[in-house]
Point group: D3
Chain length 234, copies 6
């Protein structure tokens, strides 16, 4: 029999680190973190233009059952992000405006769920941002146990309690709180470097020159021609 826990204590990252990564955004943080931590593209934003970051409170539910989301609310603190998964794939609408109301009251800044949500119109009115696999009104039960604040896998990515979760229009990323400070620094460097490149590219400099790719293209045997050879096809 599986053992089920609600773990009350979570080590959270420094709020300044979290704020810095929210500002950096998912793509830059993903690069700064050595291209790790990204959830798959099936979990999508259900609104436009929202960007959040916070500490992960993780929830593992039985499919079609949102009991453990209710159990998780209590251990959330202001600034947290709720990350919900199911033990097998589900698109059921396990989260809606009542749970959002409850999370808002706790100061939770958003939801990442590898399953479905409902009450989309109300969530927009509440201003509560959600990243989910599906939108579906399908109701769920409260009958089977699960866990809160254990490591979970959401959209193919391991998320541990206390991980820094960053989410915006590009998707969702989770990284260990312990690496946060280093990633902030790397992201800042990257954003600086990108800004310099952006200005050059905007002025018409080509990427093949800016990144010095011409020797690589030659090494790889890429030939520049005016017309495609008749016998050579891609």
């Amino acid at each position: 029999m599986p053992a089920h826990y609600v773990v009350r204590s979570v080590d959270r990252a420094d709020p300044e680190v979290i704020a810095a990564l929210r500002a950096a955004g998912v793509a830059a943080t993903h690069e700064a973190a050595g291209r790790t931590g990204l959830l798959g593209p099936a979990v999508q934003p259900r609104q436009h233009g929202r960007a959040i970051a916070g500490s992960a409170i993780t929830v593992s539910c039985h499919p079609g059952d949102n009991l453990m989301i209710h159990a998780a609310v209590e251990v959330c603190l202001p600034g947290d992000v709720l990350v919900v998964t199911t033990t097998s794939p589900s698109t059921d609408g396990m989260f809606g405006d009542l749970l959002a109301t409850s999370l808002i009251a706790r100061g939770v800044v958003g939801l990442v769920i590898d399953a479905g949500v409902r009450d989309i119109a109300a969530l927009h009115v509440l201003g509560f941002p959600v990243w989910s696999r599906a939108v579906h009104a399908q109701g769920t039960v409260k009958a089977s146990p699960g866990s809160v604040n254990v490591p979970v896998i959401a959209a193919g990515q391991l998320v541990r309690p206390g991980d820094i979760v960053v989410a915006d229009d590009d998707g969702v990323l989770a990284l260990p709180a312990s690496t946060g400070r280093a990633v902030v620094d790397a992201a800042a460097q990257r954003l600086d470097s990108e800004q310099a490149k952006r200005e050059k590219l905007a002025d018409g400099t080509l990427g093949v020159d800016l990144y010095d790719l011409r020797p690589l293209l030659a090494d790889l045997g890429v030939r520049y021609v005016d017309r495609l050879p008749q016998d050579g096809e891609a």
Copy 2:
């Protein structure tokens, strides 16, 4: 050989019932109807913030053929919702702005289609709401027979002619007209009860207390701990 019919007569639900369910929305109606009637999440709104309800005029088409949609227009009355399926899966754009223009002239309030639509920009200008499986410009023919106002299955859900169809940002639901009045009452009760709960949750009451879930969690063997036991993993 399959027999093909255009059935002219449809028993429609009381307009007050329909209006009440549009106001209740898909999620509450689904709950009030005993969690029945919901179409799968693959049929999605192609606009934001629109909510409709009406009596189903059903159409069964051959894939890649919209002949029977044309045949269906004639039997539509003001307030109806057109529900279109194909006899095998299709994403072709079998519906566009001309058909929308024709349906608007008949007073039809929206389209639910387990296939594709096109002319999306024009549909937005016309203000005609659509729930579909796909957006695709792929043209269709008018060559094969089908039926109008027979029971169909759309996105995994049985829809009968005259069913009350409710559609909003959460998806689409169909329920028998005969159950409409009872569902209106159940939905009203549910919405009242939800409003009371919403206020408590907004004030910080926890769902585990509001719904009295602590005994259930204990019965199910969920243990509250400060740290995850080393040998116990989710």
Copy 3:
């Protein structure tokens, strides 16, 4: 070993033809072109209400590798559309705001990519329209060769360098530049004819009469009945 080329020269269509097809839009152009040239619905607009047309600069990349997109920028001219594919399916974010900045500097009017994009929020700010299979922040390398301006298959559709690419809310279409003028004429005729039909349909004329479909329905054995026969089911 595969041969890899960057082909510098592309025969582009007449700008007037391109402008006319942008105005006609994807659905009408698809019909005018004999229902050819349409990409599959998996490549979707990542913004609302944008319509573009231009000459295709095609790129074939190794999955997870955007080297050849960088190589392609140089051969782009104002008014071109970049069309990117991978040699096997990929959702990686091979295109972001830096590449968009570079393409804008070259006068490229948009991107069609059978893979992923990232920096969605920045692309919106830049006003650079994108049609893609996915939004994902997943980073890519610059390590494997590919080709620029060879025939590619994007979303199940052959796209040749210099093809006229039309893209709007309905999806993406590519057609040979040589057929452009004829398609413009056919599209104009179609749009005229549709406008006449639209007015009649708006006045309540039925499509079954406008298109003279009643004899066909009768030929196909479709029967009009008031009630569905008990033994006859769809």
Copy 4:
């Protein structure tokens, strides 16, 4: 709240009719039934070369919960086929060798399940044929109510208790018991007619002649040419 029933009584079709449809097979029965009743291709045989037919005992389960399969065994009679669905999509392994052992003891001839099965190797040893959406070892609970012998939708097809279910290497079909005799006759006619055609086709007669399709091809504007016109593309 949904109401849940175990319906004990089911009207079963004549065993001779059932035997005749098993012999006719899924494809011929589907044609004889007016091309109705076919489940979608996602539910696939998990063995080769088995063909069954029987009366449907239907089961509607909560996802991840096989309680109602256990409840259904009692109402099965020799010759029945168990048809299992879930109220939302699931691939969990809700059926394995213990349930198969129990069904074999009841004389049930096979399982059709729009979800997952496990113990595949043991099912092969037992000789119990299964058509399922998935093979997955994922365990399920026994915690949520559902129903036995109510109409269900499996793989996009309505299945009513007592329907004649036919399953073989081509998939699964369900049709109302009341139509069985007529379908048997139509299938016999079809098989006779097919045998005559088979012999002619084997002798080299072309289908376009046998079915007299040349006038239709001409009517539809299909032109026979020796070489594809340069400007005419598919």
Copy 5:
């Protein structure tokens, strides 16, 4: 309006070339052809252990309509492979034992179809090999025009009439007849080289040594360690 053709004449490759590529198999031919020509993995063998090669007779059908397969039989010659696509995605069973009987009478060696087949058990008895996207008994009509022997796209790959099609347990490949001889030579070289490597690998030589990959791994910064550094994660 689309133009539809049945093209009677197809330039076929040398039978010796075809035989050599059948012997080489799909994987080796794909490599020898510069990693071009491979159909996507969704088109799968419907039997085990069969390997064929032949000249492509291509068919483009309307979805749900097999009229043009019938029209194609006449232009097939012994040794040909029929390659069937639909103008939009379809899983309908447009091919079964009667068409197989007809093709066998013409000497056709197999079918590649980006859609569904049925009568699977009978096809096995006939020994007619099939590669398809689906197995489904869903019947089709004969009502809409299409073309025979025009370029088509099957499973994301361009196939031209007369292309050499190779198919085995690894999937399906098409390559221009004109490149056949060169590919045969390259495949023979590759198979020789592979045999030499196979013997060394069987003797325990490591691929990193055989292919001299250690310098590359070092260049790419891959570090060999006994234990994973605590702060360094993949």
Copy 6:
């Protein structure tokens, strides 16, 4: 920049434990392990009737690149199972008969790969069992770094180096070596208990009685009726 490692040392489980879990099989081991460790159903056996267990050597590759599989061979020992993933989804054929030959020479007992394989016919001849997401001949490069023996996620499941991997016709499971002994005991108990149940079920005892489910069904409000109430629908 991501750091890349080949970790040479892996703590392997006791061979007796591994052998016992191979005998228990995936489904029983999954239950005995508290329903943890199961890979998703998309990774499927590519043969019938094979059952393996061994210690996981994990590989993380760039998509379309099998360099790190070559690097992994060296660290494999007899009895190991190679577990390969890619950093983003891929179906490319990154593994074939040469790599299988090399692994067989090392004593590796099988491959689990969340991507594609090729040379299927040769793998069968070699008797080397494979569980994969796809079969595809698509060739890959050796150009990008990755890691060996770091934690990876395969088909939605975390796999750590040294995990006990069990694979059979039901799929694939991974569990920490440290829990192996306890799981063996639990599996033995379960198999004993199942055997007792199997005998009773074979004798006609019903599961609802054997598992004492009648009170639960009553508690859940499931009603036994002879006929479905007219107003009560599922």
